[in-house]
C-alpha cells in the first residue's frame, strides 16, 4: 500500500449509512453513503493488500452527485474538489473494522488513487432499473426540498 501524507486520526469520526453502490464488480467499488443530515458521501475503493482494503471517503453535494450521474463531472474532479476540502482514507480489515484512518488534502492522495481525468459515470451500464429509480428519487427529493425552502422565504 502507498504511504499516506496526512493527519492520522484515532478513529473514523463520521457515522454514515450505506445508500447505494454506484460501481460494483464482485463487491462494491464506489458506494454512496449518507450522514444523519442526509448529506452524501462517496466511498471510493483505491487499494488492497493482504490485510486491508483501502477506501477514501469524501462529501459530495447533491449538485455534484447530480452532475456525476449526468456525466457532467468526473470522479477525478469530485475527488479533488470535495465539499469539505478534505478526504478521509481508511483501511478496512476482514472484520469490517476501520484501521489506519487518515485525514488528508485530496492533492496529497497518491497518484494511483486519484481517478483518471476522464472518469465519467455511466448510469446505463452500472445500475439496474430499480437502482436508477432510487437514486434519481433521492436527487429529485433533495432538489424539491431546496426549491420548497426557497419559495417559503421569497
Amino acid at each position: 500500500m502507498e504511504t499516506l501524507k496526512g493527519f492520522k486520526l484515532d478513529k473514523f469520526p463520521l457515522k454514515l449509512e450505506h445508500m447505494a453502490d454506484l460501481i460494483y464488480f464482485d463487491g462494491p467499488l464506489l458506494s454512496l453513503f449518507e450522514n444523519h443530515f442526509g448529506e452524501n458521501y462517496f466511498y471510493c475503493w483505491c487499494d488492497v493488500d493482504d490485510r486491508y482494503n483501502r477506501w477514501f471517503v469524501f462529501r459530495v453535494s447533491y449538485e455534484q452527485l447530480r452532475l456525476y450521474l449526468m456525466q457532467q463531472i468526473s470522479l477525478h474532479d469530485l475527488t479533488l474538489n470535495p465539499v469539505d476540502g478534505l478526504v478521509y482514507c481508511l483501511d478496512i480489515d476482514n472484520d469490517v473494522q476501520y484501521q489506519n484512518v487518515y485525514l488528508l488534502r485530496p492533492t496529497n492522495l497518491p497518484e494511483a488513487y486519484i481517478p483518471s481525468t476522464d472518469s465519467y459515470y455511466d448510469l446505463e451500464s452500472e445500475l439496474e432499473e430499480e437502482e436508477k429509480k432510487a437514486i434519481f428519487s433521492r436527487v429529485l427529493t433533495a432538489a424539491n426540498t431546496a426549491i420548497y425552502s426557497l419559495k417559503k422565504i421569497m
Binding site: H18, D26, L29, Y43
Partner: protein
C-alpha cells in the same frame, strides 16, 4: 450433486437462483498470471481480504452471488468491463483485485449451475463439490501487457 460451499449458501433464500442451470458454456475470467494464485478461482466472499460492505450484503441475492465465481461470455465482454472499470470509472488499481490476465475455459454441466448472462455479458457459476476449474482454464490474454503496448 452437492454444492462446494453448501454450508455457506444453504441458509440464503433462493441460492443459487432458481433460474440458474447446468450447461456447457465457454467462459472468460479475470485471473492473476500465476494460475495457482490463491484468489484465481475463489468466490469473492472467501478471498482473504474481502472487499465487502455489510449493508450491501444484507441483500440475499448479493450474498448468494458472493459465493459464486464471476465469468464473462466472451473475451470482448471481459476486456470491455476491465477497461471500463480501470479507465472510464477511473479505478487505477483494479488489477490488484481482478488480476492481470484473462483465462478461457469450458464450463460443463458437471461443474455447477450457471446464472443468466446479464447485459454486460457477465454470469455467475455456483460450483459443485470436487470441481477444480483451474485445470480447465488457460491464460489467453495479458491485460497489463496490452495496456503497456497502448492498446487499452
Amino acid at each position: 450433486m452437492r454444492f462446494k460451499y453448501k454450508e455457506l449458501i444453504s441458509h440464503i433464500p433462493n441460492c443459487p437462483p432458481s433460474d440458474s442451470q447446468c450447461k456447457e458454456i465457454t467462459a472468460f475470467r479475470f485471473v492473476f498470471e500465476d494460475l495457482n494464485h490463491r484468489n484465481n478461482f475463489i468466490p469473492v466472499l472467501l478471498i482473504n481480504t474481502q472487499r465487502i460492505n455489510t449493508a450491501r450484503l444484507k441483500k440475499d441475492a448479493d450474498k448468494c452471488a458472493g459465493y459464486a465465481l464471476s465469468f464473462f461470455s466472451t473475451l470482448e465482454n471481459a476486456k470491455k468491463r476491465y477497461f471500463e472499470l480501470k479507465y472510464k470509472r477511473g479505478l487505477k488499481n483494479i488489477d490488484k483485485i481482478l488480476g492481470t490476465h484473462i483465462a478461457q475455459g469450458l464450463i460443463i454441466e458437471n461443474d455447477g449451475v450457471v446464472s443468466k448472462v446479464d447485459k454486460q455479458g457477465h454470469f455467475n457459476l455456483h460450483e459443485f463439490e470436487q470441481v477444480d476449474l483451474k485445470s480447465q482454464f488457460s491464460l489467453i490474454y495479458a491485460i497489463v501487457e496490452d495496456e503497456n503496448n497502448g492498446n487499452a
